[in-house]
């Protein structure tokens, strides 16, 4: 956590969507590095959508807000749609009071709804009579 190198934030590709998430311990340098890496990945993998889960972020201050706003703009310029998902209610209240609207940043209540907005659906039910594995979800 105190390494000077920014910690790696995993970016996973699901079809044409990149899925990633911000963590609480991200410092400013790491946030900037993350934005750059994500932008490069969008271009390299021709992503059409990006889901950024922020459900673990305990605060969003003006720096993180700026990072998210710029990231959304950069992604849009590269032809990808960004959805920021899972903002905690106290964070939303605080952001509004700070006067930060995250203009131009598309949001979703949680990662699942964000994925749906990006065109992902629940897996279809297995065919009747077919052998299915009973797993949750």
């Amino acid at each position: 956590m105190t390494d000077s190198r920014p910690m790696d934030v995993p970016i996973i590709r699901l079809g044409d969507v990149l899925v990633t998430g911000l963590i609480n311990e991200l410092d400013d340098k790491a946030a900037t590095a993350f934005a750059e890496e994500l932008t490069e990945r969008i271009a390299a993998e021709r992503a059409k959508g990006v889901l950024i889960d922020i459900s673990r972020l305990e605060i969003i201050d003006s720096f993180v807000a700026r990072t998210l706003t710029e990231l959304s703009t950069m992604a849009r310029l590269l032809g990808a749609r960004v959805i920021v998902a899972g903002m905690r209610p106290p964070v939303a209240i605080t952001l509004a009071e700070l006067g930060l609207q995250l203009a131009g940043v598309e949001t979703a209540l949680n990662a699942e709804q964000g994925m749906v907005a990006l065109g992902w659906r629940h897996a279809p039910r297995p065919p009747e009579g077919g052998n299915r594995r009973e797993t949750l979800g």
């Binding site: 956590m1 105190t2 311990e25 410092d27 400013d28 340098k29 305990e58 605060i59 969003i60 201050d61 003006s62 720096f63 807000a65 700026r66 706003t69 905690r88 209610p89 106290p90 964070v91 209240i93 605080t94 009071e97 700070l98 006067g99 930060l100």
Partner: protein, 171 residues
């Protein structure tokens, strides 16, 4: 093991007993403000964005200790993050002192953020939303003021800036 600072965010016990390592306290300045409550104030350096994370942890722990709810915790930690960032970006580094004032049966958190930077030429302008000279969105100072109940800026050209920001519990 020394009750060491850094490494994974410090766990500062902010009740009456002696607190763990206020990490390398540059004394003077902030220390001259006398503690108000029975709780010992703790001073943290802010010189870079790793310190900023340490400060956030400490302020979060302090708000929990004082009994703030989740929304108030978030307000105070966010304000601390804005002010501490200002101190190292514009002020070239400084300190954040956490105090535990009491007033009329209420408890509170007071953040005293000091830097020895160039000072803020026009505080009123700096408090305006959209004003920025740096990497933020220009909501830092004015936004932090809205998140706190009391907010006082003392600044002088060449002599740095001290901001005192207090939030009280609701009862």
């Amino acid at each position: 093991m020394l009750p060491g600072p850094r490494k994974g965010g410090i766990d500062v016990k902010l009740s009456g007993e002696r607190t763990t390592a206020a990490p390398t306290v540059p004394p003077a300045t902030a220390g001259s403000d006398a503690p108000r409550g029975g709780d010992t104030p703790v001073t943290h350096p802010v010189r870079n964005d790793e310190d900023l994370i340490t400060v956030r942890h400490a302020v979060r722990a302090a708000t929990v200790e004082v009994g703030f709810g989740l929304v108030d915790q978030t307000r105070v930690v966010t304000a601390a993050s804005e002010l501490a960032r200002n101190a190292y970006i514009h002020g070239g580094g400084g300190t954040v002192t956490i105090e535990f004032p009491r007033q009329a049966g209420r408890r509170g958190i007071r953040l005293i953020v000091h830097d020895d930077g160039p000072g803020i030429p026009d505080v009123e302008v700096a408090l305006t939303d959209g004003f920025t000279t740096g990497a933020g969105l220009g909501h830092g100072l004015g936004g932090a003021r809205r998140l706190m109940h009391e907010f006082e800026v003392r600044t002088e050209a060449g002599k740095g800036t001290t901001i005192r920001a207090t939030r009280w519990t609701t009862q």
